[in-house]
């Protein structure tokens, strides 16, 4: 079986600037991008090409670092270097700014919606992770501020099924948080990376976590039940992918449909890894299925699998472009 990545479309999304992040809407029809030009753009397909449907310009005073869609697809959250997180509501074909979440002391690096749609997490260079609750009246309230990291927190991601949160930091560690008695606390600290951990993602079931780092490796972590059953969680690193990436790995995405793992790298390349399903569950084996060495002319900052269409992958780069790729397994 031969695998290949082919370019479907390339867009000059944030001209004269860098594109930091792309995110697919839950129905897979729209792609949100954000960048150094302080804008968010929403892209949709029209016939064979992709067009910009909306430009959300005045929401932030500085770089917009990440965007995240709510599970229902009606809201978009944006995290910015201006220390705020903006919540946008989709109204027909337009987006309006609903509210601005303030509180972080400096740049917000990430925002993520919990699968329930009622919780939101943000993280910042101020070393903290904030958990916010939203009610039926679109009111947001911060419920917890957790300070488990000793440095800049780069990324937060929610578990696909449980109310569990993971964060990645400049301090080289990953923290896992769970709620107990209305309090969110760090239940496990995953150490192993030798430099900044830039991004994280859970697999489809949430039993495993993939992380990528400035140390040019990707690590796969698996949860193990503790003897006591309750209390602290135990996560172990079961696989390390090294030697594939020439520079910092900025993002990692685990396809919920196919199980393929995609990475975005500072060497301008995109790589897709596939798991050898015959390997033991405690010692997974991943091999490089396909790569595009020069996916962009500059660093690739983000990769995202389309949640509905298997094999469709979006990426974005410091060169300001967004690219849409198709990862195919040819018989």
């Amino acid at each position: 079986m031969k695998e290949a990545i082919s370019l479907v479309h390339k867009l000059s999304a944030h001209p004269d600037s860098r594109c930091w992040f792309v995110s697919w809407s839950p129905n897979g029809a729209l792609l949100a991008s954000c960048g150094g030009d302080k804008a968010i753009r929403i892209w949709g397909q029209e016939g064979d090409s992709w067009v910009c449907k909306n430009v959300l310009q005045d929401g932030h005073q500085r770089t917009v670092r990440k965007v995240a869609w709510s599970p229902c697809g009606n809201y978009l959250a944006s995290a910015s270097f201006d220390a705020t997180t903006c919540i946008w509501k989709k109204k027909n074909d337009d987006f309006e700014s609903l509210t601005v979440l303030e509180g972080h002391e400096n740049e917000v690096k990430c925002v993520a919606w919990a699968p329930s749609g009622t919780l939101l997490a943000t993280c910042s260079r101020d070393k903290s992770v904030w958990v916010w609750e939203v009610d039926e009246e679109d009111e947001y309230e911060c419920v917890t501020v957790v300070n488990s990291h000793t440095q800049d927190v780069k990324h937060v991601v929610w578990h696909p099924t449980q109310e569990l949160l993971a964060s990645a930091s400049y301090d080289n560690n990953i923290c896992i948080y769970k709620e107990e008695d209305d309090d969110w606390e760090c239940r496990a600290t995953l150490q192993g990376h030798t430099s900044t951990v830039w991004s994280l993602c859970f697999d489809a079931t949430g039993q495993r976590l993939a992380s990528c780092s400035d140390d040019r490796t990707v690590k796969i972590w698996k949860e193990y039940p503790t003897e006591a059953g309750q209390g602290d969680l135990s996560w172990k690193c079961v696989c390390t992918l090294s030697g594939y990436h020439g520079r910092t790995v900025y993002d990692i995405a685990w396809c919920r449909l196919t199980g393929a793992l995609a990475t975005a790298c500072g060497d301008d390349g995109i790589r897709v890894f596939k798991e050898d399903l015959t390997a033991h569950a405690d010692e997974p084996v991943f091999s490089l299925a396909a790569q595009v060495k020069k996916a962009h002319s500059q660093d690739v900052n983000c990769v995202a699998w389309n949640p509905k269409e298997a094999g469709l992958l979006a990426s974005c780069s410091d060169d300001g472009d967004i690219a849409i790729w198709r990862f195919q397994e040819e018989d």
Binding site: G36, N106, T196, S297, D299, D318
Partner: protein, 230 residues
């Protein structure tokens, strides 16, 4: 210091881009920490490029072959050094009249800047040796060097949007080099107590981008980059 007439002539020269390193050295011998001689010990074997060391005094000798425009120069680290050196000089001189109060030389914060070119990887590595112990100052200097180099290089680079430029096409005329070079700036190993901490910050492009967006910090960086006493 130049007389006002000399200043005028000087400005015209800058505008016409007819400056060359010998003329500059005659006029301003000790003008800045970014100046002057390089000890080229490498050949055109770029895989084994030896570090080029900037020092505070001395002259760079131009060979006859270099001055002969008909002789095609192979691209090597000397060429890249020239680009960095010449464009950096021009840039500095144009800023000369901007009247900013601080310069890195005045602060005496940098002793040595070492440039290393590796053609195989398309990388340029710049090492600087700070003379002060404070971490934040060292980061600032590193940031200044990075910004200076990137502003000086004639490429598609935009300040604040990235410190990674990749090698591509080179034109034959010295006036229109298009260089895409990977630039890494870090502290000379063993010269600073918190070098690991400073190097990590300088290597983190997200942190650097955010720092440069902070306009007051950018102002200080700009101030560091200008030289008052030439």
């Amino acid at each position: 210091m130049l007389t006002s007439h000399q200043q005028e002539v000087f400005c015209e020269e800058v505008a016409r881009k007819q400056l060359d390193s010998r003329w500059l050295n005659d006029q301003f011998h000790d003008y800045s920490w970014l100046k002057t001689s390089c000890k080229m010990s490498g050949s055109s074997q770029l895989e084994n490029a030896n570090p080029v060391i900037f020092q505070r005094s001395g002259e760079r000798q131009q060979t006859a072959a270099e001055e002969d425009e008909d002789v095609h120069d192979p691209i090597d680290d000397r060429e890249i050094f020239d680009i960095l050196y010449k464009t950096t000089q021009n840039d500095l001189l144009m800023l000369y009249f901007a009247n900013h109060p601080l310069s890195l030389e005045e602060l005496n914060v940098v002793e040595q800047v070492r440039v290393q070119v590796n053609d195989a990887d398309s990388t340029v590595s710049v090492e600087f040796t700070p003379t002060i112990p404070h971490c934040s100052m060292a980061t600032l200097i590193g940031l200044s060097i990075k910004v200076k180099l990137l502003r000086s290089l004639p490429s598609r680079f935009k300040v604040g949007s990235g410190f990674t430029i990749k090698r591509s096409h080179l034109c034959s005329s010295n006036e229109t080099w298009f260089f895409l070079i990977q630039i890494d700036v870090h502290i000379t190993p063993g010269t600073h107590a918190s070098e690991a901490a400073v190097n990590k910050q300088l290597a983190d492009k997200e942190r650097v981008a955010a720092a440069l967006e902070n306009s007051s910090l950018l102002e200080v960086v700009n101030q560091c980059l200008t030289s008052r006493s030439l």
